[in-house]
Subunit: 239 residues, 2 copies
DNA sequence: CGCGAGCTTGACGTTGTTCAACTAGAGTGG
DNA sequence: CCACTCTAGTTGAACAACGTCAAGCTCGCG
């Protein structure tokens, strides 16, 4: 049943993010005591989501912090027909951390991009542990800072660059930070790509077409291969 | 020597953010022990900046966290002639916190918008204190989260709304979060406003003119008064 | 075999930037 | 005290970049 191409990757994880990360293997929690880990395990809930299902809504009461154990998830804002994807969260990362502080409401919605397994943690338990365990608090700080910094860069990209530059940025980002290869199956629709880059769906398609015609990428349906990363870099730089 | 107008505000603080906040009055540090406070005081440096002076450069080695004790400051990114103001930091707030985590380089530059007094703290000392004092770490988390959330909103505004909507957003934000009044003296040039909203300077001027002609605001030079906040709200909502 | 969602294309209109010119006010040096 | 310059602000006209609309296409799926 395997195609000739799949022979290159013979192992089981043909599809990335498909393996479930065990709850006791999450780096953030390694500094916890046995007792704390037990508390965490008791209050943890594992949830299954199908592709396209909503995990939590924008504006809903925020009672949990989430960890993506399997699959990929998107955070997004949807206001009067305008959609913006705030972030792509692949397996191995937390989301919903902002609800640890500001108000008691989620500031964005989250939806599964692929079938996913999500661990849900009680916000009170997390807060309490942060209060007792400075290492945990520091690591949460680090995660938030990483989010802030990458948001700054995207902020600049989306507000200061023209469409090709933005598209180049997002393709490079997907390749580098999410897939770790130049050759991958997109879990994003054209509309998702549009909402990530702040471009209309039609323009998104046109730019991908331009890139293809210039031999920079190879796209067909959901398959995407970056042929000339250095050209994308240049397009990203010139805006 | 006082003009008739200045009689309205007879007290010393005609100009907001002009009073220096004492170093031992910073809320973030109230949970520290006497010893810790002494260490902090020993390693703290107070710096004076004139309007327009650079406090730290984008990409510079990050060795400090800063607190605005007096004045107002802007964080900005400047890449190949494209400028974007990331945030306005009025007296009473920290900046440079991202350098507590990600790499050892500032991810943006900072410049004084008015004459300012800045306290500079050693990053190593801060990190060490966070490691020992969970309450401090938690409060830093809260500050970062607040930044993230407000950045999400600006992100949406700048990428999804048309120019009038963006301008309305920034005027409302300045009025509500910075000046706490509808009637104020701008410390921002038209160019600054442009770089805050991601609009060209010329368009910025034209939109302000439109708002004035519609009786929504009153602007002359640096003075700005919001006459019809409800109209700005509506413009903000319709995009 | 037909249906529908996602995708694609072209034509058109709008929005917003760019360019160039002009003005006003704030120093600065003679 | 006055010309001189320099910067910030302002205006108009031309142009480019994108979004919108409307139509057709394709592929997976029942």
């Amino acid at each position: 049943m395997t195609t000739s191409e799949s022979n290159i990757n013979t192992s089981a994880n043909e599809y990335p993010f498909a393996r479930i990360i065990p709850a006791d293997m999450i780096p953030l929690f390694r500094s916890l005591s046995k007792n704390e880990k037990a508390t965490l395990a008791r209050t943890r809930i594992a949830l299954e989501f199908k592709k396209g299902e909503i995990i939590h809504k924008h504006g809903a009461h925020a009672a949990n912090v989430f960890f993506v154990a399997r699959g990929v998830v998107k955070s997004y804002m949807e206001i009067s027909n305008k959609n913006l994807i705030i972030g792509i969260v692949p397996a191995g990362n937390f989301f919903g951390l902002t609800s640890l502080s500001v108000g008691n409401v989620y500031h964005y919605g989250t939806k599964a991009l692929t079938d996913s397994t999500i661990y849900s943690y009680d916000i009170g338990v997390m807060k309490e542990m942060m209060r007792k365990n400075p290492l945990l608090a520091t690591e949460v700080t680090d995660m938030l800072n990483a989010q802030l910094v990458s948001l700054y860069d995207r902020f600049f990209s989306l507000t200061q660059k023209q469409l090709p530059g933005r598209m180049a940025d997002i393709l490079l980002c997907l390749s580098r930070e999410i897939y770790h290869t130049h050759n991958f199956e997109l879990f994003l629709s054209r509309k998702d790509l549009a909402e990530l880059t702040g471009i209309s769906t039609e323009s998104t398609i046109r730019i991908l077409k331009d890139f293809r015609e210039d031999g920079i990428i190879d796209v067909s349906n959901k398959h995407l291969q970056i042929l000339k990363p250095e050209k994308l870099e240049k397009i990203s730089a010139t805006g």
